[in-house]
């Protein structure tokens, strides 16, 4: 029986390679379908792997708490909010900022309305580790500078102020609420806290002495042991604002970012649908080729029947030929899909994730498509009367 299948497979393969051009063309549809399936699963999988990698690098251990702004009122946390947060066991870093509702400008003559978008925050020196931030150039606020007119710029704010290439050796100054501040540092981009990228930071003590800042923060940033993050999240509102815990909203930036990227996944379903259509068309292409082939090869069928081939042998030969044709397309599509995925991932600097389950499913699908497509032509071939087949010219 195995020898029988080997013989039938050899015949099927003979049929495929006897008409290489036609075989390639009819396998193309299946190849396109399989390649699409692989690309639409492999590329998002690689993207997801990259996102996961970035998120864990950026920190899934970060929480942001703020007070829901009630209309017409400025609410803030108690003065000691950051310190209270730090006292929660699993919390490793905690810091707070307060929006000073002020404006920053390069010169005192600039139009105040053009500075919109950059917020001025009062900050403490412990902010940078609490937001997994990094100082790109210069320094952040220190114990020494928190009481002085010094300012640190977020990455986006620096860009908007034209100070991206700030050089610590040549200090520059900016104006906050008409006061002259020396820029002492610029922060690196912080994808998990984009609102901080668009801010400039002044020392909390200087803000108290010159801006009438009451010391009550508006946003608390903290980091905690990752496995305890939900527990921390639960107790945070009551800890930060014991009197009004219901007004405190806590978010985890990593979740927000993940959710944002996940919405891109909805397109995958559309492309998978297209791939399905391509596979269907591919299957019809294979069936079409086989029907033509059966008509053309009637004399071969007649000869084989004369040599003792049973109907079953003829049916099997054409069925296997269709399966091989489809499998050929499947293999080609797999190759294209894998090269495409690897290439795209390399281009984007993503880690390559090849969906092996999809590869296996794709090849199995190609076999099924080939079998379905070959069924009708194969039955037709086997029903060809040997005498008519031999009489055909």
């Amino acid at each position: 029986m195995t020898g029988h299948l080997v013989d039938a497979s050899a015949l099927g393969w003979l049929g495929v390679r006897s008409r290489p051009g036609r075989s390639a063309m009819s396998a193309l549809g299946v190849a396109l379908g399989i390649a699409t399936v692989l690309l639409v699963t492999g590329i998002p999988a690689s993207g997801q792997a990259d996102l996961d990698r970035r998120l864990s690098a950026m920190g899934a251990d970060m929480l942001v708490a703020q007070v829901a702004a009630l209309e017409g009122s400025t609410v803030a946390f108690p003065e000691e909010a950051a310190a209270m947060a730090r006292r929660i066991g699993p919390v490793t870093f905690g810091s707070a900022v307060a929006n000073l509702h002020s404006k920053v400008m390069r010169t005192p003559f600039a139009d105040p309305n053009e500075s919109a978008g950059i917020s001025v925050l009062a900050a403490t020196p412990d902010l940078v580790p609490a937001v997994r931030g990094e100082v790109a150039t210069g320094t952040f606020l220190t114990e020494a500078t928190r009481g002085l007119p010094a300012v640190v710029l977020g990455a986006a704010a620096a860009r908007w102020l034209g100070l991206s290439t700030f050089d610590a050796a040549h200090p520059v100054q900016v104006f906050v609420a008409g006061e002259r501040f020396t820029v002492v540092g610029v922060l690196a981009p912080m994808p998990l806290a984009p609102e901080l990228e668009q801010a400039v930071f002044v020392g909390d003590e200087f803000a108290r002495s010159h801006f009438g800042f009451d010391g009550r923060p508006t946003v608390v940033y903290l980091r905690a042991v990752e496995s305890e993050i939900s527990a921390v999240r639960d107790v945070l509102p009551a800890t930060l604002a014991p009197s009004t815990p219901g007004l405190v909203s806590v978010s985890r930036p990593a979740d927000v970012l993940a959710a944002k990227e996940a919405t891109h996944g909805t397109f995958a379903a559309l492309f998978l649908g297209l791939a399905g259509v391509a596979l269907l068309v591919g299957g019809i292409g294979v069936a079409n080729t086989m029907v033509v082939s059966v008509l053309e090869r009637r004399r071969e069928i007649g000869l084989r029947r004369a040599l003792g081939a049973r109907r079953h042998d003829v049916r099997l030969q054409f069925l296997i030929e269709a399966v091989l044709l489809s499998l050929l397309g499947g293999a080609g599509g797999t190759l294209v899909g894998m090269v495409g995925t690897v290439g795209y991932a390399a281009l984007r600097g993503w880690p390559v994730v090849l969906p092996w389950a999809t590869v296996a499913a794709g090849l199995a699908g190609a076999v099924v498509i080939g079998a379905l497509a070959g069924l009708y032509p194969a039955v037709r071939a086997s029903r060809t009367s040997p005498t008519e087949a031999l009489a055909a010219v």
Binding site: L14, E300, L307, G308, R310, R311, T387
Partner: protein
Amino acid sequence: MTVLRLTGVVKEHPGGVRALRGVDLVVEQGEDLAIVGPSGSGKSTLLHIMGTLDRPTRGTVELAGQDTGAMTDTELSRARARNLGFVFQQSHLVDRLTAVDNVATGLLYAGTRRRERRALAEVALERVGLAHRRTHWPSQLSGGERQRVGIARALVNRPALILADEPTGALDQATGRQVLELFGELHAEGATIALITHDPTVAATFGRRVEIRDGELLDGVVA
């Protein structure tokens, strides 16, 4: 021993055309039989029925002592694979197979093992004098050589009966004569051959001759 026995064979084609009207024919082992008839005399139909490629409307066909009328397609196919060898006007070689692989195709459905098929095909190819052409492609062979490869394919399974349908019809006279000489040699070695032709000069080289006309065999032409 009787290789093939046709008794009262009638074949009606759809539409009421009677191609054969009661044919009785016995082929004994070791015979060389030529069936001669003009085109339209029903000789192709007769060959198809002798070769069990077609079933008679009435009458019986016994191949190697067995009634083929009751056989299923599978049994009939097996009987063909074991007992019959066909030679056609066109050699019907597979272009993508070498001469020896084309000959081995004659054993593909006979249940012979792959390896043995090759060896037996080499022997058969040597028998028709084409051992030196074994790895050649059909396109590299002359018409006569192709037909001899076809004959090797027909005799590779050592059939009880070789059926030939105008085997020289597509060949020039000299080449055709060589092919007929080959049939003569095979017969001399003990093969049973039944050939169908429209050409009396071809039939003349055969030991027993039967004429077919309008679907009936004419007796008394045995020379």
